[in-house]
């Protein structure tokens, strides 16, 4: 049994919130640079140049990459042999509050969203996903998820007979209909299987995979590649101003489903694909 203090969790979360918002992950930057080399549309080339320049400026000045510093989505992997001294969820909320308030990050969460919509003032509460895993470590991932892309999420329960083609049509249509709203080039998270709630979780978790890494199952990897090719043939391009680069990656997570169902979830991530992980 290992003991980790709630204070250490809080401080780690605060730091992760800031670093995630200032520094574009290396794999995303490399994917954008690769896309810039391949892109043929002049307007799209300029957009990609600006996006890369933006990442440099944000890092240099420790300013948010995007003004939408997101809903703070937290993925926790808690080792079953870890004991947290103190209140774990409170430590995370306190960490988010500190990170956002002291890091010049935007507070975007509003309470009672169907009526008063009063800003909570410190971007809490976070949306926290907790998994219990083997071992004695605590892994914390912070994903600031912007509204533009999150609002383009889609869920469908296809009939089993609609099969692979049904999945492809649904995912490509979801990206086409989203147009410029999610800030393309996007990363497309796709969940397949499970239940209505679980398939959306799978779609979001798929976004944590490094850009350019395919699913280890060759059949899933092939589906990812076909989806990516079809999405990049739409012509939407960066910011939907036309071009070859509509998506940087398609990441699919597949899970068994009930005999009656073929659930498909789509969660888009903008080009400012921010997340940061630490292990305690």
């Amino acid at each position: 049994m290992r003991e980790i203090s709630a204070t250490a969790v809080k401080e780690t979360v605060a730091q992760l919130c800031q670093e995630a918002n200032y520094y574009l992950p290396d794999d995303v930057r490399a994917a954008l640079e690769g896309a810039r080399k391949k892109e043929e549309a002049p307007r799209a080339q300029k957009v990609l140049d600006m996006v890369l320049q933006n990442a440099e400026l944000a890092a240099r000045n420790r300013v948010a990459l995007c003004q939408d510093t997101g809903t703070c989505v937290v993925f926790l992997e808690v080792g079953q042999d870890v004991h947290i001294k103190g209140d774990l969820h409170k430590a995370i909320e306190d960490g988010v509050s500190k990170g956002y308030k002291t890091g010049y990050l935007r507070s975007s969460m509003v309470r009672q969203p169907f009526s008063k919509r009063l800003n909570t003032g410190d971007n809490t509460p976070a949306v926290i996903h907790t998994e219990i895993v083997a071992g004695e470590r605590l892994k914390v991932t912070i994903m600031p998820k912007g509204g533009g892309c999150e609002n383009m999420s889609r869920l469908v329960i296809l009939k089993p007979g609609e099969g692979r083609e049904g999945v492809i049509n649904f995912v490509v249509r979801a990206v086409e209909e989203s147009g410029g709203n999610p800030c393309p080039p996007v990363i497309v998270g796709v969940g397949i299987g499970g239940t209505a709630d679980h398939v959306m979780y799978l779609a979001k978790r798929a976004l944590l995979r490094k850009v350019g890494e395919h699913h280890p199952d060759p059949e899933v990897a092939e589906l990812e590649q076909e989806l990516l090719n079809k999405i990049n043939a739409t012509g939407i391009g960066p910011q939907a101003w036309g071009g070859r680069t509509t998506a940087l990656a398609v990441n699919v997570e597949s899970f068994p489903a009930h005999i009656t169902a073929l659930p498909v979830g789509v969660n888009l991530q903008c080009h400012s694909a921010r997340f940061k992980t630490a292990e305690l």
Binding site: A64, L65, D68, G180
Partner: protein, 188 residues
């Protein structure tokens, strides 16, 4: 080629740009997004005056991050325009001449842009740190209680944007897709 525009926008300036044109805007932008739009529409409905003279002006859909000490503004890129679609035609009718956001607009907004001779521009979404460098000063002019959603007056220099919807009914998003779409996807 980049077309230089200064605010307030004149009818000639608006008539002189077409979908796809790159522009650099110098002058004043007023920030407003969801919450500020709701209040402005209520104000117009009750027959009262808007908190700023909207004639010839440009509204920028942005909710910036707080500035670090010594900076005019934090990260300040555009938000999704489609959310403001139902709230836009009354402002165009009141004399608004330009809008900066990201993504496409509804048919009703595009028709209103033609009818009232106004332009919808897009800036690069997700380039808030870069775009902030074109903003020299930011002052709150109304709805301070809305925080990031308050109406601010931004003094901008050579603010980069492209024309998405012009007064002639053209749409950059449609044009771009038509030009770059492939019927058969490339492998790999």
């Amino acid at each position: 080629m980049v077309t230089r525009l200064t605010t307030p926008l004149t009818d000639d300036a608006v008539a002189g740009v077409k979908a796809g044109d790159e522009v650099a805007i110098t002058g004043i932008l007023y920030t407003a997004r969801d919450a500020a739009h709701n209040r402005m529409i209520e104000t117009l409905r009750s027959g009262e005056k808007l908190p700023f003279d909207i004639k010839g002006q440009i509204i920028y859909y942005v909710g910036p991050t707080p500035p670090r000490p010594g900076q005019a503004i934090g990260s300040a890129g555009p938000t999704t325009s489609a959310r403001m679609d139902p709230l836009t035609p009354p402002l165009l009718e009141a004399g608004l001449k330009g809008i900066i956001g990201k993504g496409g607009r509804s048919v009703a907004v595009r028709e209103a842009l033609q009818k009232y001779k106004a332009v919808y521009f897009a800036a690069v979404g997700g380039a808030g740190a870069l775009l902030a460098g074109h903003i020299g000063k930011a002052e709150i002019v109304a709805y301070e209680d809305l925080g990031t959603e308050a109406i601010r007056m931004l003094h901008v220099e050579e603010f980069p944007a492209v024309v998405v919807n012009d007064i002639y009914g053209n749409d950059l998003l449609e044009q771009g897709k038509a030009e770059w779409r492939r019927e058969v996807p490339l492998p790999g």
